[in-house]
């Protein structure tokens, strides 16, 4: 095992899982995909392992989302009964609701703004984000400012809607 990949693995694994989680919204699946990305890195031995991993992870998450959408369409055709609602402890409901709101807020961002924000949150520098997204380095600050503003606004709007629903 080359030392650099082992080092990247130790330093990047949690950030890569977090990045993937916010794309597939399933913690276990995010871990599986992160492991798969590292396994592919071992085979491909890319020059810039960290950057390469995030590109591969983003592609895998996109494929995963397409597959999930296809499966959902098939299930909708097959099933006539509504989804089973599982009861959960209060804190799980809260965590789940919060995650749903963050997910909905992230969906309000343009794909490029969302990608830049998630990459920054994963610990990438402006140079790395520029290389990854094709944005000019000088545009990253503006992109992140817009993404952060939109995220917070959409999240707060979701909270407000939730309160209205709870009251109504």
């Amino acid at each position: 095992m080359p030392d650099d990949i082992a080092e990247v693995y130790r330093n990047t694994y949690p950030a890569l899982v977090r990045f993937l989680y916010r794309k597939v919204w399933d913690a276990e699946r995010a871990e599986d995909l992160a492991q798969e990305a590292f396994a592919r890195a071992l085979v491909h031995r890319p020059e810039n392992t960290r950057g390469w991993l995030f590109v591969v992870a983003a592609n895998m998450a996109r494929d995963e989302a397409r597959r999930a959408a296809r499966e959902k369409r098939h299930l909708t055709l097959l099933k006539s009964e509504p989804d089973t609602v599982h009861s959960s402890p209060e804190e799980d409901i809260d965590a789940e609701t919060r995650t749903k709101r963050v997910r909905a807020a992230l969906d309000e961002l343009t794909p490029r703004d969302r990608e830049a924000l998630l990459l920054w949150d994963a610990g990438m520098s402006y140079d790395e984000i520029a290389a990854q997204t094709g944005l000019a380095r000088g545009a990253i600050g503006t992109t992140l400012a817009r993404a952060r503003r939109r995220l917070v606004e959409a999240y707060d709007a979701g909270l407000e809607r939730g309160q209205h629903v709870a009251r109504g």
């Binding site: 095992m1 990949i5 082992a6 693995y9 130790r10 694994y13 949690p14 899982v17 977090r18 989680y21 916010r22 913690a27 995010a30 871990e31 492991q35 590292f38 396994a39 071992l42 919060r98 995650t99 963050v102 997910r103 807020a105 992230l106 924000l117 920054w120 949150d121 520098s125 402006y126 545009a139 990253i140 600050g141 503006t142 992109t143 992140l144 400012a145 993404a147 952060r148 503003r149 995220l151 917070v152 999240y155």
Partner: protein, 79 residues
């Protein structure tokens, strides 16, 4: 120097502004109350966005053994 745009303020807060631009910005901030106020607003926005995003994260678990350690991972890894 006219007022500083929000992108530059975010780059500054992210520690990603090149040193020459950073020095110019800090000199401007010393003289411009509007930009200082904007910086405070953008700092609050940045913190809020980080908190919102941070509230949706998987439970942090230690990284499993590196995939190259096949013997630790089990035969079902490449499924």
């Amino acid at each position: 120097m006219s007022h500083v745009d929000e992108g530059t303020l975010h780059a500054y807060l992210d520690g990603e502004l090149p040193s020459v631009e950073r020095a110019a910005l800090e000199a401007h901030l010393a003289d411009c109350a509007t930009c200082r106020e904007n910086l405070t607003d953008e700092r609050a926005l940045r913190e809020r966005a980080t908190a919102v995003l941070g509230s949706a994260r998987p439970a942090e678990r230690p990284a499993p053994p590196h995939p190259a350690h096949d013997n630790l991972r089990g035969p079902d890894y490449y499924r």
